[in-house]
Symmetry: C2
Subunit: 874 residues, 2 copies
Amino acid sequence: MGKYVYLFKEGSAEMRNLLGGKGANLCEMYNLGMPVPQGFSVSTEACTRYYQDGQLIAPDIIDQIYTALHETEKIVGKTFGDNKNPFLVSVRSGARVSMPGMMDTILNLGLNDVAVEGLAKLTNNPRFAYDSYRRFIQMFSDVVMEVEKSNFEAILTAKKDEKNVKQDTDLDANDLKAIVASYKAKYKEIKKEEFPQDPKVQLIEAVKAVFRSWDNPRANTYRRLNNIPYEWGTAVNVQQMVFGNMGEDSGTGVAFSRNPATGENVLYGEYLFNAQGEDVVAGIRTPKPISELKKENSALYDEFFRIAKTLEAHYRDMQDMEFTIEKGKLFMLQTRNGKRTAQAALKVAIDLVKEGVLNEKEALLKVEPKQLDSLLHPQFDPEALKNAPVITTGLNASPGAATGHIVFTAEKASQFVKEKKWPVVLVREETSPEDIEGMFIAKGVLTARGGMTSHAAVVARGMGTCCVAGASEIHVNTEGNYFILNGKRYNEGDWISLDGSTGRVYGEQIKTIDATVSGDFATLMAWADKYRALKIRTNADNPRDARVAYKFGAEGIGLCRTEHMFFDADRIPAVREMIISNTLEQRQVALAKIMPMQKKDFIGLYEEMHGFPVTIRYLDPPLHEFLPTAKEDIENLAKTMGITYEELSKTVEYLHETNPMLGHRGVRLLVTYPEIAVMQTTAVIEAAIDVNKRGGSVIPEIMIPIICDSKEFKYVKDIVVKTADEIIKAAGVKLTYSVGTMIEIPRAALLADEIAKEAEFFSFGTNDLTQMTFGFSRDDAGKFLGDYYSRKIFESDPFAHVDTKGVGKLMQMAVQLGKSTRPDIKLGICGEHGGDPASVEFCHNIGLSYVSCSPFRVPLARLAAAHANIKNPR
Amino acid sequence: MGKYVYLFKEGSAEMRNLLGGKGANLCEMYNLGMPVPQGFSVSTEACTRYYQDGQLIAPDIIDQIYTALHETEKIVGKTFGDNKNPFLVSVRSGARVSMPGMMDTILNLGLNDVAVEGLAKLTNNPRFAYDSYRRFIQMFSDVVMEVEKSNFEAILTAKKDEKNVKQDTDLDANDLKAIVASYKAKYKEIKKEEFPQDPKVQLIEAVKAVFRSWDNPRANTYRRLNNIPYEWGTAVNVQQMVFGNMGEDSGTGVAFSRNPATGENVLYGEYLFNAQGEDVVAGIRTPKPISELKKENSALYDEFFRIAKTLEAHYRDMQDMEFTIEKGKLFMLQTRNGKRTAQAALKVAIDLVKEGVLNEKEALLKVEPKQLDSLLHPQFDPEALKNAPVITTGLNASPGAATGHIVFTAEKASQFVKEKKWPVVLVREETSPEDIEGMFIAKGVLTARGGMTSHAAVVARGMGTCCVAGASEIHVNTEGNYFILNGKRYNEGDWISLDGSTGRVYGEQIKTIDATVSGDFATLMAWADKYRALKIRTNADNPRDARVAYKFGAEGIGLCRTEHMFFDADRIPAVREMIISNTLEQRQVALAKIMPMQKKDFIGLYEEMHGFPVTIRYLDPPLHEFLPTAKEDIENLAKTMGITYEELSKTVEYLHETNPMLGHRGVRLLVTYPEIAVMQTTAVIEAAIDVNKRGGSVIPEIMIPIICDSKEFKYVKDIVVKTADEIIKAAGVKLTYSVGTMIEIPRAALLADEIAKEAEFFSFGTNDLTQMTFGFSRDDAGKFLGDYYSRKIFESDPFAHVDTKGVGKLMQMAVQLGKSTRPDIKLGICGEHGGDPASVEFCHNIGLSYVSCSPFRVPLARLAAAHANIKNPR
């Protein structure tokens, strides 16, 4: 039997995990001597027990709650349910990290038919007392007893109609008394029992309701999106009510210690006199800017300003505070580190360093890496967004905001742009390599299928194009040039808007604001570079992406997917010729056509990287990906290639695979067709010699994918080395290069010691490694992962965040085993996880040398790497 | 610089790994005082160095060879290349285990133009000398210098024609002298250099040739089929020549110490006077049975008989010996444990126990588990097989021999049988569940695609039907009722024969011999059961298979694949109804139809197992496997189900998966549709209660497949337990059951400690675990595994033998982790590896409780388990 309930005087800010953020900060403010209404917190561990015990609060916890309640009553000198001076409380959720609006709150708890009379007498304000009681009945019924709010709203409206008034405030005490009676009657009608009169019953039921709300669908979704473990649970804060609605000397407000939009160092917020918190939120009355308070009541303003600055200095961060004024006395109800825009985050962090409050490391930790995205991509104008309904939601596959005319094909995208119907958004069932040109022209890409690592998502992130993927509610009819969503038809040319940062889709044109990168950005990035240990590389397959990434600070290419170069219209014929070759000689003829093109690609990449290392991965996908599957396409291709339809069909059929992800791909192709490795090596090495002759200092890194065995690696490495050394010798130059492998098959991780004897570097391909380790493919998992989230089996998408328990265990094994046979082995990651802050931190912690991510994620990765090294220095 | 060459007096039988089997046994015989021609062995380590050094013999090894040669010369008192009394040697390969006929041999080495004269004078037999020289030139040129044998045979034939004689023996010394001259001229013409005259050069080149032959294609294939590591290498034995062809007082022969076909305790073999070993093999002259020797020369016979019995007692096993008689003197050239039929193996082992030579454990080790297969299945009549050409080869997927008329569909199989066109062999591109009836009717199954764990292979093994799978050279045209193989057409009704134990296919009718199980079999099995620690279970999905397995000694069912029960014609409609249901209610209606059928299945299985545990795996394959894909079939099904073609097509399309192996299957289906788990649990538990009421003692084990996470397992387990406990409670009975999981996803092995907290048993699904760990699917790997063998990256099929390094490492982790949180966890294996002796040994060594295999493999597994426990007792 542990301790589950803590009086505010027993807690502190350090006890956030136990008391939740709100509870811990209330304790801290109390201990700082600030005016905080008395109360106590029921801990997150009580929440965990509640669920363990089958959604029951155990008797020992109930006892502790009652004891704490009694202690609090003694401090404030009021008694629960007292008919003269009743003690009223608020009951609020408070998780370890803030989940605004996700869970439940109950105010004015403790009122009943007796206490309301006492409150009326005590305050000499029956109207206030009955108004509070009515609000409490409605809120308690709704939140705790699951009686729909609308039942009560109808009664309120009827009374206002009867009295012919518009505002709630126009109703008098008697009206409200009558309303209370009607409310209670309605409650009894629905629940078949009286509205609970015992305040202690009310309290326990309210605590349960808060615990229950931890598990409501919106809380679950929020947690998943924000990577918050379900196990954490929520605390419950029970706190003496103070009233901002006791007259014109009372009020309530919220304020930030600095401007959360810009970061400017001014008090920012709003307040209302004679109001409770919900009035500010409800938007019926317009609150006043906090600066007005200075004029209306400068003493109060000064007191609040002083508290705000004290809290900011104490927490060493911008604060977001709630306060209430009861009959001229200020009470602090909450403080927490304020949420802010990316721009504000930068400015606040840098200002706090200038003000001597923070050092550079601390300042870096104040900026969330994910926030940087919004500085690099266009965003919607918040005003324009306000009233736009979300028509569907997909995966936030590539950040930014896009608005444009719907087109369904890459050709139409070009045509629209020529006709000045600009901008466009490309909508596809899913994209394929032929869509790349269209994706480049479009402002945004929307797909009905595919996950965070689908073609659309990967390519869009590389380009920095906004993308919402896997919006499974839309049904695309490409031939018909329309899609259907919830019964509505959206045609070519209609406006659509995508938010790639949230996955939201809007069925209209919404104004966007361009990205703005301030000087603060450069300052912060310079600090990040100073404190990080990980190198940051980029995944880039063409000079354009490489250039962007270099500009964003990439220190090399960690992954060049050579097959992406194969899809260009001018080279795909040669690739297909290679595939349908029946003999080595035929294949070599085709490869000879491809070689100069690859060489040119590599020259471009080397040049853009200015001497930084460039890792080139050899052919990865199964060959059938380069061939058409539709009858018509096969016919056309056969004609072009001068062979019969039957011949080509036979090849296509032969290459068909039951499970392409587990098929003839990567190194397996090179084992079967070593001549492909010879061709790619020739291109890599000749390109490097070419650039170095013109003053470059290229050190190519050749990477063999899909390895599962050291002999398999050695077989291909021997071919690579023989080819490379012959070319270097013939050219009479010196050139350093290395040959390494991806670790993306579980067996490669398990046998990394043997493989490291041959491989000079490892790069973790966490996309494939995740697929193989979990035994599901990213293409197919979409169908059931939703069930896994809703049943709380998984809490986050393993393709978005490295699964540290399973996949991460294999990675750690591979690191240890690899170092055991090659202590200086270079270790990197080039899966999509390389751009995920949590995964970057994991990579730092297990001792990788670098992470590689898409160009637009490079700044994010630089900051995440700094965070990781500050938290856990190498 | 180590020791690479050993004189016979320096070695012993224990040095087999270093000296090879032949070399070690020569040393042993020498040390036993037996008449062995002098010589030495070049070790297997020298072979390894030869390959490491780039196919060169290092100077230090050459020095050691020359030193050993010199020592031997001193012992025998002859000199290499001497013109009076030349020393001649044989050079033979000798690997750690015998690989008969796979590698090269050179006889009469040391002859040259000078030595031949010496030999002629010494033996006073010029004909013998020149005949030996001619044979040597031909053999050396062919084996060592790669000059085709046919070049020399043409010269020999021309001479015989010229002299108008038929036999080689009809040529005289002068003829042979002329032939030698022509041979040398031919050699020079082809090689552009003289035939090597220096015996030391001859020797080193011959040693190289033997080393080289370790890597020839037929040796590589033999090793892969017999699971012999390439790294072992071969030794080379250099031994003084003795001549069986020096006249009628000379001869040569081979003999077994017991009959290798029956095991009968009589000397068995044959010999020829005035002949060398190759004459016996060539079949030009008919050798005499060894019993004749007793009449022809009883002293010699007695000496040999004594030696044979001494060797048998010394090696405590039946011996296979080669001998030569030179001018009346007996020489032993080789002894080794003799290969024998399964029947003989049993008899010899049991007789040796009766004779007090072996104890039971030792006798068990003398029988290879794999041999038992041939006792349980029909075999070809060896005589009938002798001249049948192999038309193609596939995988030896299910043992036994079958001959029959070709049919291409299950319907045709039934029709043929009705029409008395019996027996039939079913030929398919690959089989699917609809073919099961046809597979049951057919004597054998031949498929063009699919591996050792393909549908055809798994089902055929279960039934005990002979199967050759993945014979990729055949092109099946099912509509046309024929297949094409190497340009030849085989029609329906044509005769074909399959050897499921070797994978060979014959294009004609071949007589088969039925299986015969003797009393020796029961004796050996009883011994095996006495000494094994592993329990042996079976994989069985129906009472028929369960009955067979029980008869073969299965101690329970380790895997019942419930989905196999779904394909029956009378229940597939209900299964399809469940799949196309749109609501939970519809699905429950369909499931309610399936439940009683499943219950009936389980009752049958429980009854056949007589109280042994029965492990029932819940639904495993993706749902689309139950739906048709061809347009016509969809149309028909839609009609039957009373829905539109479009509706059904949409469902089929929706269920389509890119990588079905990594798709929505196993536990993932149960997470999405918990009602399936409820249905299956109801059937499992109600069936058990039913059987137990009638006096049974069923303990069902419920197994959830494809688990990757403990929460995932717990989610389904909770549903199972709730359902089961409610049924048990309602029935008012007591029933014990357990809920466990398969370990077949790498992540499950990595997190086995967490999973074991919930799961009461683990069963390793090594088929899937191998696929995921290697990252290739058994369906697709067929295309490239051949390249992996030919390039020596893999030496055995990981789907046939557990990959102990990678997959095995995961298994070991899972065992350790599982035991760490549940020390008494039951651990089994139910992948196809459960019937592979090497894998059974591995399972014993890592501490599993049982292995489960197809019914016909149960005896094999019992013996393999005994071997494992005798070698490494628990």
